[in-house]
Symmetry: C2
Subunit: 417 residues, 2 copies
């Protein structure tokens, strides 16, 4: 596939993340407009509420775009998703008959503020990157016991907290928590000292599954509405003390950031790629009927307060051992009902090389090898004032399928109690 031409000129650049091939979904507001659904095209946002009101797009009897979330569209199901995309291409393609009607409904991105694109029903985070699991396991349990015995058989996941999933650009208040130094007699309560990121891709579940009824990997793929960048902020010192025996809890509950734009499965279709070779065969219910990962280049920048952003990680989504449809099939395998708006974090995406590691825990090897962040500064973990930004794009022949960015700046912990 090559670049699809749009009458929106800024969408025809090889460098825009938002060509006609992409058409990602977000929620935006301006000084004049209430929060509403919008579609990115070049450096503009197509106001979907206005388009619906003007009769340019009609997905359902009642309006679905004049609300600050895409959940209503999700609930219409995959046929409606396909119809929407086809109509958007028709309206925005070079030579479109409706250009004069649509043009006034485009809002410059520079005038818009992005909000959360969905109401997150529930958030689940996985641990499905082999390099990450191996790195962390090696640090915590030694190289010989790095991967838990179940790891090659199940995409290990845990339920996270939906109430603190926030959109890119929202500040992150450093969490307080209980920690205990290995040589201390008693734990202490106070600000996290080992604050970290996890570079992930989030899959958004768009259709429901019935309680009591598993779904296949192929069905799971069809259930996914789209993908976002996701930063699973992590408090490593809180995590180390709390996570046995029932898993991470407050170490992850304080914040999870996502990119404002949901990139659809349709836009990513040309970039499908397979999970790596299986070291052990999977059980049939987790086998993939085809390629279900995507070739998406990812990177992370760190900008100290008042400083310059430096790239600290470059990797690719195709490094995952398990795909989102596999994770979703596992999630529903017990009969767990899945809901439109469920958000599944891929797990940290690390590659084999040191600069491909998707967390500071790995990049600084547990703080033993601080990384150079320019200007004479180093980092083992995140300091107050730092801005961490995830970047992601699939790279086509003369075009990008971009996610925008997923950024957060760290503010000092609140005093408590």
């Amino acid at each position: 596939m090559t670049l699809m031409k749009s009458w929106v000129q800024s969408a025809n650049s090889a460098k825009t993340p938002f060509p006609l091939n992409n058409l990602p979904y977000g929620v935006f507001t301006t000084n004049a407009l209430e929060p509403r659904c919008g579609v990115a095209i070049g450096d503009m946002i197509f106001d979907m509420a206005a388009a619906e009101e003007a009769g340019l797009i009609e997905l359902a009897e009642d309006p679905v775009f004049d609300v600050p979330y895409w959940n209503d569209v999700m609930e219409l199901g995959p046929e409606a998703w396909d119809a929407l995309r086809a109509r958007l291409v028709q309206l925005l393609a070079d030579g479109a008959a409706e250009q004069a009607t649509v043009a006034p409904l485009l809002v410059p991105m520079a005038d818009a503020r992005m909000e959360m694109p969905i109401v997150v029903a529930e958030f689940t985070d996985f641990y499905a990157g082999r390099h990450h699991a191996t790195n962390v396991g090696t640090m915590f349990r030694g190289a010989e016991n790095a991967l838990p015995p179940n790891w090659l058989h199940i995409p290990i996941g845990y339920n996270g907290r939906a109430s603190t999933v926030i959109v890119s650009g929202t500040d992150i208040i450093r969490p307080n928590g209980q920690t205990k130094a290995p040589d201390a007699d008693m734990p202490v309560f106070g600000p996290c000292k080992r604050l970290d990121i996890e570079l992930e891709i989030g899959a958004i579940v768009g259709t429901a599954s019935e309680m009591g009824h598993p779904v296949s990997v192929a069905q799971a793929d069809e259930m996914i509405f789209g993908y976002v960048l996701l930063n699973d902020w992590s408090a490593r010192d809180i995590q180390a003390w709390e996570y046995q025996p029932l898993g991470p809890f407050q170490a992850k509950a304080f914040a999870t950031s996502i990119s404002p734009w949901i990139v659809t499965r349709a836009a990513l279709e040309p970039f499908r790629t397979s999970t790596p070779a299986r070291e052990l065969d999977l059980l049939p219910h987790l086998e993939e009927p085809g390629p279900m990962l995507y070739d998406i280049d990812l990177s992370v920048t760190l900008r100290p307060e008042g400083g310059e952003a430096v790239t600290i990680c470059e990797t690719n989504y195709s490094e995952m051992y398990y795909s989102a449809p596999q994770q979703l099939a596992h999630h529903a395998s017990s009969g767990c009902a899945m809901t439109p708006g469920d958000l599944l974090g891929s797990g940290t995406i690390s590659g084999a090389e040191p600069h491909q590691r998707g967390s500071l825990l790995e990049l600084s090897w547990g703080g033993k090898e601080p990384i150079d962040t320019g200007g004479g500064q180093t980092r083992s973990f995140i300091e107050d004032g730092d801005t961490l930004t995830l970047h992601g794009a699939a790279k086509g022949d003369g075009y990008l399928i971009g996610f925008g960015t997923c950024a957060g700046t760290i503010k000092p912990a609140v005093k408590f109690p």
Copy 2:
């Protein structure tokens, strides 16, 4: 406190779970009525939607009771909760001036079907009963390592799944899942073979906390709207294989049952009691300013298909090492935003004696000591057709504060794939 007299005669029995002292909140429907909020009084349900429409109760400008959940009432906050209770006592007390107006708005419980009383925002389950944690730890790690090092310092919890919280009476489909026998080379996928209950009390969060901002234990107590019985159905074989390193996931995700009636903090006030003596001092942010557990008698019955119900466990909520306000304060300690409708499971409530154990895992000691369930039958874990029922009531001077029951019958697993 003694029995408060009502003009509803069935509410004046020493045996009713629902005297005027109680007034628990539920959602009901009948053949004639859409689902709506109701209050239990004796063997009747006070139709709150009808009462609001008749102008007998006015909590807010817009109606809050003509919906199938109590979340709107929760969001009005503790002053409104107090006002509601005071008004209900006024309307239902012996000699009430409004008796003739209220009487036609009472629906016989026998004619009603109970539904979920709230929209569960998120579900969190704790592990805060010392006897349970010690029993399970002893079975899995030996008596010397029974309690994890953090256990006496934090109420250990993990995020559960809200989409599968269901009301008492809903059938439970036996979950499928991946398991691996200790001596097997490979895991298998199929129906759970070690299906279990967990006898718990659920606390319902009624007011929000702000992201980034912890709450004190005293504030947490004020945030709690009420309590329910809760059965955290558990697939022990799935759990054993999946839970390292990130905690229980599919072993718990398939179903959690709650009682239909929410018993308010106000109704339980006379039954406040303290957590057991601390073996180690807690850090200040988790210290309780007063008694925050309740003296609530609890029991579990098992009824095989076509058989008689036998009591398999008798215990008390006061056995918990951590109270719900302590759990909630810990939950918010990282700055995790809490939401009206959040449900916090206490963790399994076991006492010191064998018959006080709140799970079959403990009662049958991991299947090594099957329990007698009458009629020549024994159980190590739950079989298809079994009905498990939780019962609970605080016992006052001549009156009960009952929760009703929390029951579920097991149906066979679905065939998959």
